[in-house]
């Protein structure tokens, strides 16, 4: 590891989407982690509204930072650095975290660490108690991202594959909407699917073929729309359950299969899961089965570390270069991911 990474407690801030989060992380230890979710605020719109998210982050982030420090029993001056999500995400939302972190670091005379959100999801399994060390293949699946990374060095994960259209979580939310389940639809779709047959409908798997590491979910969603149209409304409850179970299977099975296949190809001993879709019980089941069959260790952090949080940003920050005071004053948030996949 480089000697420019931080040691000692780090205050981390995350505002890239619809969670306002702050945490104190010291090495692998999560000292405190606060997440203020805006999910309910966006529910009436059927999805995250960037302007609403940005407005809410601004009213919330300072109190969330205060709580994270208070729970850690630290004053701002006692942390060694401030870390913040710089990219990728909703630009207006990211800007609140970045402006806040820069101001805190400037006034407190602290260095700043500009962190990549995906790097954070990948580094979440490095934290206690999972404490996974490389090498491994990571699957991150959420409403915003779906990707496989080979992690041989936590400073520089290498992207193996990603979605070419919708993210897995987005596909699940859209499917839930087609089945009349509201937003966000993940948990409701999973509950409905529990009573249905996974083989009642054959929805197409996007990008088939041996060795495929990318994902596509647009076709599955379209097939569900056609199926619902052909069956005709209103759908009986057991028909809806079958649709939900078959649809969920079509989304999560490629995730599990490609994760396990990539790990075997790369010859690593472990796989890890992250992102909000990692909470899906069927995905966990399929990955656990595949990992056991292949003799791989499966690392899944607690649900609170899978969904967006700041502790994972504090973890990634320990594998990201520190920007000394006051060289960070001109740095900005960035909406997009870098071409290499991760800005580490």
């Amino acid at each position: 590891m480089s000697d420019v990474t931080a040691t000692g407690p780090i205050l981390a801030i995350e505002t890239s989407c619809d969670e306002t989060a702050a945490a104190v992380v010291d090495g692998r230890r999560v000292v405190s982690s606060i997440v203020a979710s805006q999910a309910e605020l966006h529910a009436p719109y059927g999805g995250v509204v960037p302007e609403v998210a940005a407005r809410h982050h601004l009213g919330t982030v300072n109190a969330v930072v205060d709580q994270a420090l208070e729970r850690a029993g630290l004053r701002l001056g006692e942390v060694s650095a401030i870390a913040v999500t710089q990219r990728p995400g909703l630009i207006g939302a990211l800007l609140i975290g970045v402006a806040t972190a820069k101001a805190l670091a400037y006034a407190a005379g602290l260095p700043l660490i500009m962190t990549d959100h995906l790097h954070g999801h990948i580094a979440a399994t490095w934290l206690d108690p999972v404490a996974l060390d490389p090498p491994y293949v990571s699957l991150i699946a959420s409403g915003g991202h779906t990707r496989l990374d080979l992690v041989t060095d936590l400073r520089s994960p290498r992207t193996l594959g990603q979605t070419i259209d919708d993210a897995a979580g987005e596909a699940i939310d859209k499917g839930a909407r087609v089945l009349g389940l509201g937003y966000p639809g993940g948990p409701a779709l999973e509950r409905l699917a529990a009573g249905g047959s996974r083989t009642a409908h054959r929805f197409p798997v996007g990008l088939r073929g041996a060795g495929t590491r990318d994902f596509s979910f647009a076709g599955v969603k379209t097939s569900l729309l056609y199926a619902v149209r052909d069956l005709g409304e209103p759908l009986a409850e057991d028909v809806r359950a079958d649709l939900a179970a078959s649809y969920q299977e079509a989304v999560v099975r490629p995730l599990a299969d490609r994760l396990i296949a990539a790990a075997l190809d790369e010859g690593v001993p472990a796989v890890s899961l992250g992102g909000g879709v990692a909470a899906n019980g069927r995905l966990r089941e399929l990955v656990a089965e595949g990992a056991a069959r292949a003799g791989l260790r499966l690392a899944v952090p607690d649900r609170s570390l899978c969904t967006d949080n700041a502790a994972m940003i504090g973890a990634a920050a320990q594998f990201t270069d520190v920007i000394p005071w006051p060289d960070f004053l001109g740095m900005d948030a960035v909406a997009t991911a870098p071409s290499g996949g991760i800005a580490a």
């Binding site: 101001a103 400037y106 006034a107």
Partner: protein, 196 residues
Amino acid sequence: MLEACHGLLTAAGVRISEIDEIVVGVGPGGFTGLRIGLATALGLGQALSVPVTGASSLEALALGIARERPEGSLVVPVQDARRRELFAAVYRTGAAGLEELVAPVAIAADDLAARLVAIGGPAWVGGEGVTAAGGAFAREGLTTLAADAPGNRLEAADLVRRVRDGAALPARPVYARLPDAEVNRLSALPATEAPA
């Protein structure tokens, strides 16, 4: 934003830790710029444990426009709000300072000009919204400030003056406009459910 603060402090020979209070413009203005200003001020205030006070950006701009105008003049600060609207407010100058006649609002330039004519009296319109308004203010009794005129630009010191004059506001943004998604959602509601 923060680079400018740092440059200012360095030039003034003041360390950030010596600051006792922060005043920030709360708008209305461009949403993103407004939020960066507020997030920066609130972050500095939090780290320094000093109070952060808001001041109306349009009032501060009005102070500049009002300088050297006779008492009883209308002063009209305008900022470009995009979509053919201005963020604007109307004040009357007097011995006691600014009297607010029209609170900060997002308004079409022509509608604002019509209101000014209806209120009556000589009015001075200033701010970067003048350019965006095209010829909307070319009416009898309305004078627009030249782009390079003193008073046409918001001076941060005028924000502090507003606070000293007792016009402090909470350090929260004044958007003067709902998010588009909220406008669309409200307009899709049945009339009985929509708020008045």
